[in-house]
Subunit: 183 residues, 2 copies
Amino acid sequence: MTEMNDKLLDAAEAAVRLRGYHAVSFRELADDLGIKSASVHYYYRQKEDLGLALVARYQAHFFKRLDERAAGLSRFEEALAAFIAVYREALVGSDRICLCGMLGAESSGLPPPLAAAVAAFFEANIDWLDKRMPEIWPSATRRGLADSIVASLQGAMMLAASLKDHARFDTIAEELQARFGTL
Amino acid sequence: MTEMNDKLLDAAEAAVRLRGYHAVSFRELADDLGIKSASVHYYYRQKEDLGLALVARYQAHFFKRLDERAAGLSRFEEALAAFIAVYREALVGSDRICLCGMLGAESSGLPPPLAAAVAAFFEANIDWLDKRMPEIWPSATRRGLADSIVASLQGAMMLAASLKDHARFDTIAEELQARFGTL
DNA sequence: GCGCGTCTATCTACCGGAAGATAGAGTAAA
DNA sequence: TTTACTCTATCTTCCGGTAGATAGACGCGC
């Protein structure tokens, strides 16, 4: 919406992806933006509302970039490469793990609606892959492979962030592409 | 050491694995144990000290169970199965993700010594797999495959916890075993 | 065996600060 | 004059952490 709202979401997303939901405060975000914490509450009455907005925007951006990259691609190998590229972009572009990777780990400690939104993000990821997978396998197999791909990439982000080494993500991504790309 | 110390570590591990480091407080742990928060500080002066003790104990238990399961096994396929089983046990036994998976996600928001201990846990995981891998590949390839395995399992735990469905972990684990077990 | 000091484990009481959240006034543009 | 936005000021609750007291168990020299 407004410019300040965008800046607020940017600051909140950066902070949550770096340190987690519970480690981020309204005061800290306000300081980042040069406003007061009461003004942050003007945009989002509760922290939970901010979290939900964050996930909604993240998901929208994620699939927008994904569909841009994957437009016109028909082979699964290419779709997977696009999927991996969007994940990689998220990690390398900001030196942070996926928003939903962070929130997914914290899931049990989040307000239930927020945990549900995060779970929906993952299901949407899996659906996206599933739909582009060759139909030579039964549906359950396809979904299982999609689960594996999402888990690998989320785990790879976490590992690369913890070890402070993006190259680890790339190694895992290449292995993933080699394994599933030729299906 | 003492009985109370064990109970304290048990409560702290359960809480951190469920909701994350920053969402756990001394008072909450004290309430769980029926003591006062000042008594928790008697055992661990700072929260960081508690976190370090938690990781040290977790890592020791993890490798103890791993070595028990893998004792006498020589083929990589079997070692991998043991590795997966210990991960699965951690998830299913407590309905929680790996302590270091949680702390790894939060890594950038943790006291540096704690983040370093978590990173060391992952490196030890990778080393364990690496050493048991057939030497037909160059060292770099082996380490890359070990990275992939750890990332998959950590991601699978997070995904299963977020989606509240342990079967998703099993699906991914089976795919992993099929992928690397026959190497 | 007795008294002395020490150690262990817990308590009460408190500190300064930060958290999420609210009420209501001010301000500036449309 | 209304709307959009930001402020000051404040509340309650919780945080990590500290100080200092206490009660009981242990060991040691006399």
